[in-house]
């Protein structure tokens, strides 16, 4: 049981922080109601727009790079956890993996895909 105490404390603190924020904003935050704010999803975007609205393909490009490099980073986490057990073998393997990723990054960079203009 003892080893779980710290986890429980952590759980309690997290819950208290979240609850505290909600309580604090509802107590001291300004309460001004207007039409946009009362919409089901308040996220800065209008919910009903023409389906023919165009927006730049660059958003997709950035989103794609983010997804790719983010997913690759996920592979690094288990390696970090087992770093000591895997030893030099794991280290070299991971460096090769990261080197291949870096080549991808260099390619993307040099081809100008990271420039917004």
């Amino acid at each position: 049981m003892n080893e779980y105490i710290s986890v429980l404390i952590m759980l309690f603190l997290a819950a208290a922080t979240a609850a505290g924020m909600i309580v604090a904003t509802s107590l001291i935050g300004p309460k001004i109601e207007f039409a946009d704010k009362m919409e089901p999803f308040e996220c800065g975007e209008s919910q009903i727009v023409s389906s023919k609205r165009r927006f730049s393909v660059k958003f997709y490009l950035v989103a794609l790079f983010f997804v790719i490099f983010d997913i690759e980073a996920v592979f690094v986490y288990p390696w970090a956890v087992l770093f000591k057990d895997l030893g030099w073998f794991g280290f070299v393997e991971m460096m090769i993996f990261i080197a291949i990723l870096t080549i991808g990054l260099i390619y993307v960079w040099r081809r100008g895909a990271l420039e917004w203009e």
Binding site: F89, I103, Y107, W109
Partner: protein, 492 residues
Amino acid sequence: MEQVMSSINLSAIAPELILVVCSLLILLIQSFAPIRLKGWYGYVSLIGVVGAVAVVLTQPQSFELRAIEYSFNGMWVVDNYCRFFKLIFLLGTGLTILISIKYLDNEAMQHGEYYALIIFATLGMMIMSSGAELITIFLGVELMSISLYVLAGYTRNRMISNEAALKYFLLGSFATCFLLYGIALIYGSTGTTSIPAIAKFIAGAGFGGPTIVMGMALLVIGFGFKTASVPFHMWAPDVYEGAPAPVTAFMSAGPKAAAFAAFARIFMEALPSLQTNWTMLIWVMAVLTMSVGNVIALVQENIKRMLAYSSIAHAGYVLVAFLSAGERGISSILYYMLAYTCMNIGAFAVITVLAGKGEQRVRIADFRGLGYRHPIAALAMTLFLFSLAGIPPTGGFMGKFYIFSAAIKEGFVGLAIIGVINSVVSVYYYLRVTVAMYMQAPDTAAEKEIPVTVFSPALVIAIFISAYGVLSLGLFPSTYLAMVKLSFLTLL
């Protein structure tokens, strides 16, 4: 930990490693090298392909020993079956690169990405043929398909090419879902994705139950799409017509062979106990594929579209060999895929020469009088078309001969008769092109013009290698047969 390290055997994936390094190198050259290195991408990728061929030939022992070697905890297998297929893929890739260099110069699209994608696709095919486990095979399928989706739309300023890429992507990713779902159901009912372990489980349990049969049926759909078999062929004509000619050549040969490689390995090695279930299914598919492909090809006016339907029909012949199973069936698949790669890429090489900038001349009418304007190109085209039709002394004839004799020996007499009737039907549309080349005069001034694309040394070499392959497979089949006989699936 010890176990993981000991099962890593880099020599088993040496050809694949060479291709990885080669394609990354091309991407780096593309990123840094000055413009004058532009023409080099093709040659760098050729060096990679030749290196991979050399390693496949020596790996890990000679062809005479029918050895089988598992590595990476049973995820990877090296046997003569996959080595033979890898040689077919690399032959197709090498020929495609030779054709592409001049074509891309003409289209002013000489970029490193093209070659990198071709090599990534080849890598995917090699993983498909060597995967001893369903997820590894799936990984290969994805690597191959995604590269091909991009390549189909490579000439991005041509509307028809964009359409091809979009159609291929939407339908292809939908078909991949079937494949994945099939894998999931098989995993769900056997508890493993390893091919030998699945075979052992089904043999031990007697019969796997309805889930595994469902899984098998979904795999048939997935691979039926990848091999463009009827009724999963609808994408092929549009994609083959829209994609740049060298890419069409590439994807009509290698990826089809790769799909058959994985298809046969899974069905013969993992699911042989279900043979009674899939025989009927594939029998119907084979008949439909041969008949629909050949009949629709009869009325095509566009030569790329015609060859697309012809390629569907050829998948049907291979399905006949697939049904024969056993040693004869597998070895005739291997022989046929080799012959098919040579003759189909050869035919597309000639089309690439004649199509001109922007592929303006791809109607059969554009071939009128070619026998007098370009006697050598016309002669080569005639040879490839005769081979596709299955007229001796070409590789196409020997390939069909082995397929139909295997079918008869295994008791599929009706199927063999349907196949022979179909190949007679196909003679009409292949010879139509030959008739246009030698017996019809060009109508308009535009047709009389000499095409813009002239022969480059690389193109001539590609056509020569294909012609040599077609003729030697037809005239001296024993050398190849000896190799094929040693290459059938080792687990059978």
